[in-house]
Symmetry: C2
Subunit: 339 residues, 2 copies
DNA sequence: AGCCCGCGTGAAAACGTTTACGTTGGCGCC
DNA sequence: GGCGCCAACGTAAACGTTTTCACGCGGGCT
């Protein structure tokens, strides 16, 4: 038997479809008595409004789309978690679409989401302003995550890469380490460049006379391992190393272990992200934790706001908080761990 | 300017809307010439069919819903990844809905997905056969993941908990350890009970004279830690410990370390899941890896099949493969690591 | 030559909902 | 008591698509 429609409910409750719609959607204009009769009828028939029909007439899908490059690893797991939680809180559905390497794929994904979503959450390296303008109807609300595109045209939400890096480098310096080297992230990457900027800025401010040491990396464990060996081979070893993300720090730690260099006695080490593994390597990794789930939540709330009140003011620079999580790899004083 | 509709395209191409629909949906009955004209017009107007209208008339959403208990951690990250990949391959959208602790929440989630999806992928402890029958229109295709509900009524897809446990226990025994203890998972849990069943079966078969040792756990790191101490306090320490999941194994490892017990010299240890952390603890954890992404892929493909060909035969017992990943905690011979 | 078939096309119904607009009845007010 | 107004409710249009049906027409068959 096919699902009950609004007409069935109307017939059952001996009213018109209009009254059913009004009673069920709460928009007044219905006697308490009839409303009760309608609700009873709906309950009896197990009536569930047909979402598509409602979308069609309302032009609202109550769904937001999340466009991600790939959801491999803990970062995206946490991100989606935060987004999902917030979506549920806002009464919105979440349509995810990930794993598009190329711009063409991303374009196809965007296009296929047309009309299924009220707004779009986009986190992708490939996506820049021109791409967006080419592939998006400008009516569709969009919030960009961790994106280099700026300007008042789009809403952007970034992790505090810069602030976190500054805080960590300052922490290392204040722990007594004179020189801090950086293992950088991949060249084109926005997060990577922001973290490097933070490193340079903090060094310039708090250790203006120290030499800057930057070795290349690409956010992978292997690149961290290589970078670790490269640092050890240098004439003047740094006293501390700040890896632009945790995976590289883990690789670097392995390199130090293999070389018989003690951490943190011989050299201090810190990462960025606070992935779960950071807690379990030995010694446990000092890192900067960014509240990824909060990040996702903020992004969705912002998008929901834009969807609800279109044509509002230009983007505010909201960022989720971060914390320096001091564990065993950085030496110096060790405040309590904030779990 | 509002988005172009099929009528606009029809006017632009000087044909009727019916022909536009036919031309664009590929279902013959249109001259090559007119088809070309229609495609050109559609291109010119940037026409994108309105998804809701299509759903309404077609009764197909080209979307499948994934109902998960919570997407915290690597397991769900991988699972969604596999599902998403397969969904893209099948040309389906993915609507996720997670984080429903209670049955009431799950029911609400299911209800709100009504009409938005062609099928449902459900992974939830709370969901049993009666719940499903109460909350689902029986027309909606459903595939249950890792669920205890059996019978021909529903399609079920399970991880090979039993097989993995059997294989691991056998491996430990063949590595020369006489006695193997089990750190069990939470009592009501389906995965946990299946793994315990595998443990008992393998012990009965390969070490019928050995004593069975089972200590309680609940899949958390803390419970593993407690279990580790409990095992050490026993009069007769087992030679090997099989933890029903990796997190407990990690906790147990910490307990052994704290107690000065060497792994694997004094006691061997193995886990289940192969979470990323397993590789990074020292010594690296031997465990059984289940291909979670494959699991998600299989589940979605199965669901897509059911959606496409409804009323087919009862569920086949498809399960994703697993591998014993031998690392450093189990002693004995060490084959190559298969990464 | 007449007939029928099939192909290309158009008109219109249908999907289930919301909502603008009538229509009714009851009630207060003069 | 009549007039008008408001609340409650019904009617019907509209959303954008697919799909069924009918129509015209050209050509191959008998």
């Amino acid at each position: 038997m096919a699902a009950a429609t609004i007409k069935d409910v109307a017939r059952e409750a001996r009213v018109s479809v209009a009254s059913v719609s009004r009673a069920l959607n709460g928009g007044g204009g219905v006697t308490a008595a009839t409303s009760a009769r309608i609700h009873a009828a709906a309950e009896r028939l197990q009536y569930i409004p047909h979402a598509a029909a409602r979308m069609l007439i309302t032009r609202r899908t109550h769904t937001i789309g999340a466009l991600l490059p790939d959801l491999y690893g803990e970062f995206f797991s946490e991100l989606i978690r935060g987004i999902d939680l917030a979506a549920r809180a806002c009464g919105l559905h979440l349509l995810v679409s990930s794993s598009h390497g190329g711009a063409a794929e991303a374009a196809a994904a965007v296009r296929s989401m047309q009309g299924r979503v009220d707004g779009l959450l986009i986190l992708s390296e490939r996506v820049d302003a021109t791409f967006l303008r080419a592939n998006l109807p400008k009516a569709l609300p969009v919030v960009l995550l961790n994106s280099a595109v700026s300007g008042p045209a789009f809403h952007v939400l970034n992790i505090d890469n810069h602030g976190g890096a500054v805080a960590m480098v300052r922490h290392l310096l204040q722990a007594g380490h004179r020189s801090v080297a950086l293992i950088a992230g991949p060249p084109g990457n926005f997060d990577a460049s922001e973290r490097e900027r933070g490193y340079r800025e903090a060094m310039a401010k708090h250790a203006p006379r120290a030499a800057l040491t930057v070795v290349a990396g690409d956010f992978t464990e292997e690149s961290g391992y290589r970078a670790g060996h490269e640092l050890l081979a240098r004439a003047r070893r740094p006293r501390a190393v700040f890896a632009a993300n945790d995976m590289m720090a883990v690789g670097c730690l392995a390199a130090f272990k293999d070389a018989g260099v003690r951490v943190p006695e011989d050299i201090a080490l810190a990462g960025f992200d606070d992935i779960p593994i950071a807690r379990y390597v030995t010694p446990a990794l000092t890192t900067v934790r960014v509240r990824i789930a909060d990040f996702g939540r903020l992004a969705l709330e912002r998008l929901a706001d834009v969807v609800e009140h279109p044509g509002q003011e230009s983007p505010s620079a909201d960022t989720p908080g971060f914390e320096i999580v001091v564990r065993d790899t950085c030496g110096g004083t060790r405040p309590e761990e904030n779990s």
